[in-house]
């Protein structure tokens, strides 16, 4: 279970460009939940993800993963708990290394790395078995440089890399945003399949409301550094993007009413 407790993230605190990216976010994600996150630019979606991965330091509040307070943990220390896919297909892989070497890096995620060889036949077989279901024929190209693959192929390999070893949460940061529509649809299909297969707790940021409602079991909408809307279950079933916007406007109006009451 992931618990985010009154989390605040401030960039350039005290500086001229001070920006409060997260203003006291409260969020509990249950084991095995697939949560999609939407929100406008600057709403705090990516900061939320970065706060979970350790890239953005919390100014106050706590992040708990399975009851463990990881708020002060560095990115590499959290790597055993958190796996992530970046928006940029270049960012998630080492272009100059082979597919097998990238997978080998991921297979040691969160583990102390020793002096045994990073690749062996057992691992190669495992990689082939894991990468074959993508249907890209990459299982026969393990020694090709990953830089030779297209963006969609890379993101698909990233999915395998991120789920190769267990993690407490899988973070997907608009991982289809940089892809053409066909590749994006392919990667989303693979995402659903792999998440369903591994049952990993997942947090996916997306800019597409349709995608947010189409994937996963719960959708949250971020606005101005807060969780503005949180829908799941029956309320979410059958919800359309316009319905979601209506819900958001409704909750926004309610909150404004609360504020005006407080100020009165």
């Amino acid at each position: 279970m992931i618990v985010i407790d009154s989390l605040e993230v401030v960039f350039d605190a005290g500086g001229a460009l001070e920006k409060i990216a997260l203003k006291g976010v409260e969020l509990t994600i249950n084991e095995g939940e697939f949560v999609t996150v939407i929100g406008g630019n600057g709403a705090g979606k990516s900061t939320l993800l970065n706060a979970l991965s350790g890239e953005a330091a919390a100014s106050s509040g706590r992040v708990l993963i399975d009851g463990e307070n990881v708020t002060s943990w560095s990115v590499d220390r959290r790597a055993g708990l958190v796996s992530r896919i970046f928006q940029d297909p270049m960012a998630g892989v080492c272009e100059t290394l082979s597919i097998a070497e990238n997978l080998a890096l991921a297979s040691a995620r969160g583990r102390v790395r020793g002096l045994s060889l990073a690749l062996n036949n057992r691992l190669r077989t495992e990689f082939q078995d894991r990468i074959a279901p993508l249907g890209l024929g990459l299982e026969d190209r393990l020694d090709d440089r990953i830089g030779l693959l297209s963006g969609g192929q890379r993101q698909a390999v990233c999915l395998v890399m991120a789920t190769l070893r267990p993690a407490k949460i899988l973070l997907l940061d608009e991982h289809t945003a940089a892809l053409d529509p066909r590749a994006a649809a392919f990667v989303i299909e693979q995402t659903k399949e792999i998440v369903a297969q591994t049952g990993m707790t997942t947090l996916m940021v997306t800019h597409s409301m349709a995608q947010a409602l189409d994937c996963g079991s719960r959708t949250i909408m971020m606005d101005q550094g807060r969780v503005a809307l949180d829908v799941a279950g029956a309320q979410r079933a059958g919800l359309t993007p316009s319905g979601l916007v209506a819900l958001f406007n409704q909750s926004n109006a309610d909150r404004l009413d609360d504020d005006s009451l407080l100020n009165a």
Partner: protein, 263 residues
Amino acid sequence: MDGSFPLGAAVTAALITSGVDPWISMLAAMIAGAAAGAVTAFLNVRLGILHLLASILTMIALYSINLRVMGAPNVALFSEATALTPLEALPLPAFQSKPLAFLVAIAVIAIGLNWFLRTETGLAMRAIGANPRMARAQGARVGLLIGMGMALSNALVALGGSLFAQSQGFADVTLGVGTIVVGLAAVIVGEAILPPKRIWIALLACIIGSIIYRFAIQLALSADWLGLEAQDLNLATAILIVLAMSAPSVRAKLGARRRGPAR
């Protein structure tokens, strides 16, 4: 590098002349080089100094340290027994036995590196070079591994300095000038000739590149029709590196022109 090379020579020369076993002196030289590398990594990782500047700072600091270590700008080793002295017992002239010994040393180091760079730790180190953010997200301890990599590479540079001093019979504080450029030239020339698809090929490319570089420079300097003399060495090296490094972009531009204007 420009500091670690003479550091290795200085430590070896100082220890051998004070009667320490040459093999232990070589080990000490490598440890000193590793320490210098670790200092550079510390300046970069912990204190946030730009990597290039961090290495320049270590380099100029080492100039003073090397003078201190030797107690003089240069130390002669002609009359001392070095790790290479046993070679004289071989029925080969020195100009054959020394290169052979170095060939063996290089082979041993290359085999070691070929193994290390394929281990989990070595792979993580390579990943940090290629994409530090990704490596960190995979749990690689970036700062620590940069330190280890710097220590390892500078230990090897110091070993090179140590062997150089022993084979040439002296250590001099100015030995290191241009080492980094020569190293760079060797890597570039090597990779141009032998595109590195695997680690052992990359290692081989470095070795071949460094030899070819020496030949090329020697050839250029001794070709009378070019009119180059010994003092033109650094200029020739710089031009060679510029040519090698600009070749890909020049080639791309020429290729684009031939294919006609871009859309």
